[in-house]
Amino acid sequence: MNTWFSTFSANAFMPIQGTEIAGKVDGFYAFLLISSLISSIILIGGMTAFIIQYKRKTATDKTAYITHNTMAEFTWSFIPFVIMMVIFYWGKVIFNELRTMPQAGEEIHVVGVQWAWNFKYKNGIKQYTKDGVTKENKIGNVEKQVMVVPYNKPVKLVMTSNDVIHSFYVPGFRNKQDVIPGRYTAFWFKADKLGEFQVFCTEYCGLQHSQMPATIRVVPEAQYAAWLDSNKPSAASNDGGISEVAQKGIELYENKCRSCHSLDGSRVVGPTWKGIYGAKREFESGASVNADDNYLRESILNPAAKIVKGYPAAMPPYAGQLSDEEIEQLIEYMKTVK
């Protein structure tokens, strides 16, 4: 049985904390629990007290004629309002932290498929479901996808789906994010506890929705490096420190992109790729955006959607010509062009 379960009971039923943020969420949870208990006691207790105290005695009881009380009504509107604003703000602070991606750290790609998680590392390691194991691959019966990650180091997941919407949920990290076909979503964590953490799919995705367990295994950094090395696909010829995935992007670049996009900052037909990833893009429409995975994906598939200021709308759309995998390789390559 999983270790993540053993300490459930220790913490008002919340799973074992795997990150620092999980501790913050649990603090917030404790506040909600206590404030809700107090509110319940006031409401349900008051109700019960009135039922007992003002029990009907005769069939013709006279009752007080009280239509309203402005002071009481103001009080029970204002105090809940204040408490709810506190709860909102507290939640927002945690939410911001959950959703603000780290600048540095490991990046692992996650692809949801019906019904498994695929994990892809930059050096070419692919953690795919073995064919036909879905039946054996059930919860509580070991055989799962494993994502090995380093201890105490930020890890960013870039996630997409091959078919329908899935959702990547790690109870121990108190975090989840939907995984959407045709788009990238991101998820991050810095695990500060060694061990294994359960991953569930939490967006209903059909027949085997409950059969998508995976495990995040947190290991010390040295062990992680060793794992990366020993599992690296043998054919990889890694030059210049560029990842295996990005390596494939080079070839695509040479064939399809080079004639219009430079790598050294010079202007050809379209904007240069130098330093493109994360840079601010200003458009003809006046809007602007930082070039992230989703922007780059859109600009490859449907370039006309956002035309960079000062450039012609000359690029042909690549929708239907590049596979999801090839787009990923291109974007990975762009990230390396600095």
Binding site: Y54, Y65, I66, E73, F88, K138, P171, I180, S210
Partner: protein, 540 residues
Amino acid sequence: MAHATQSTTIVTSTEDNYLNHEKGIWSWLSTVDHKRIAVMYLISILTFFLVGGIFALLLRGALFNSGENKFWSYITPEVYNQFMSYHGIIMVFMVIVPGIPAVFGNFLLPVMLGAKDVAFPRLNLASYYIYLLGATIAGSTLFLGKIDTGWTFYTPYSIKTSTSVIMAVLGAFTMGMASILTGLNFIVTTHKLRAPGQTMNKIPLFVWAIYATSIIQILATPVLGITLLLLGAERALGVGIFDPNLGGDPVLFQHFFWFYSHPAVYIMVLPAMGIVSELISTFSRKTIFGYTAIAYSSLAIAAVSFLVWGHHMFVSGQSEFAGIMFSVITMLVGVPTAIKLFNWISTMYKGSVRLDAPMLYAIGFLFLFTIGGLTGVWLAATGMDVHFHDTYFVVAHFHYVMVGGTLMAFTGGIFFWFPKFFGKMTNDTLGRISWVFIFTGFNVTFFPQFILGAMGMPRRYFEYHPAYEPLNQISTVGSWLIGFGFLVALAAIIHGLVAGQKASANPWGSKTLEWQAPSPPPHDNFPITPTVTAGPYEYR
């Protein structure tokens, strides 16, 4: 002082009432009498409730064990997903959304306003048949291809699944039409058919609640209709609206869907709040505390409910900023809701409280809705919701609101207005026994699910981690208690129909106008149009 000055003369009723005014099955099927239409809705909705309830019991039965070996080998993951979908679709679209407005709204709204009927009686009958047609279309999928999308029809799964999504959404679309027409009818009735002297601040709070609900129905339901048609068009014709392979956006569907379905939560719960206002005032024999606050908070909830749909989508990939904005607006809905709870409890203060079966259900509503409301605040907080989203915590929360809120009020309403509907009393002991089982069973079923959600158990799982098993077994046992409780309630209704004592016009000593009409009311409700001189809760 009676609520209606002239009505005292009419209580000496004739034997002619709406039940025996005309005879024969055709006189029922072709009736335009709002009271008969209400009774037909009641029969239909109770039937659908029974079917939805059987699906619920089968679901809980399947979840008794964590593994794939269920109590009945017929229940495979495929069948489980269908049961889960049918339970949701039947209970939401066929029972809880139409429930209180169609049954109690139809029967009581004209009587509470001193009118002879709703504004458009023929349209009212048309609504019923449209509803029935929609239910038939949706129900036909049971025999033609099934449905396994859940009641939410999320794309792109609903585009890819091989089940009969088109028929199901067509059914939901058709029932939506009925909902819009009913809402329209009630709004016009409330504005135009009030008795002389009955100003808007003298109408019962139930009417206010139905009025606010009707506004949401006519504004929000068309959006659902369009969304479902787009989904159908996408499946049938391959237009790329939601399918990313065709350039569509699957998350757009969620925006459209929740733009209706969040206000729909208030379509479900506002009428229940209306019933509870009537019950608490009557059984405390005391004027309602904060009439204006309760009336206007209904409108406030209706208005704000249109601006909070994104709180269903904090982890859907919508922007972080949007999530934060939806979170803060959602908190604002909590304020009028809290006001209502405080008002109802204050109504009992210095009252004369009697715990007949209807009042027990109202108390049950307050108890369960408090828990449902408070946990709603947890889920509205972004940082907390990320953990709870799509876990059993959410399942528990919305059952506390929809079953603990709406169904409690609905059942309480049946026991309360039964004498008015049928001129007979139900057996109060049977009514109370049903409450004990439903209330206890409900908490045994759904409270453990809050804990399961905190522990991280996702919803819509056929198999789950064995560590979640004990709490699931408690939950399943609770579902049997609820099932038994509703059987007792049904027995009380049948017993009342067959052998109930004759009811007087006003057995509970209530002050609203419907109790001034005979039980059951004659075809035209009031022989002479009553004149209203006082408010609906003048207990002095």
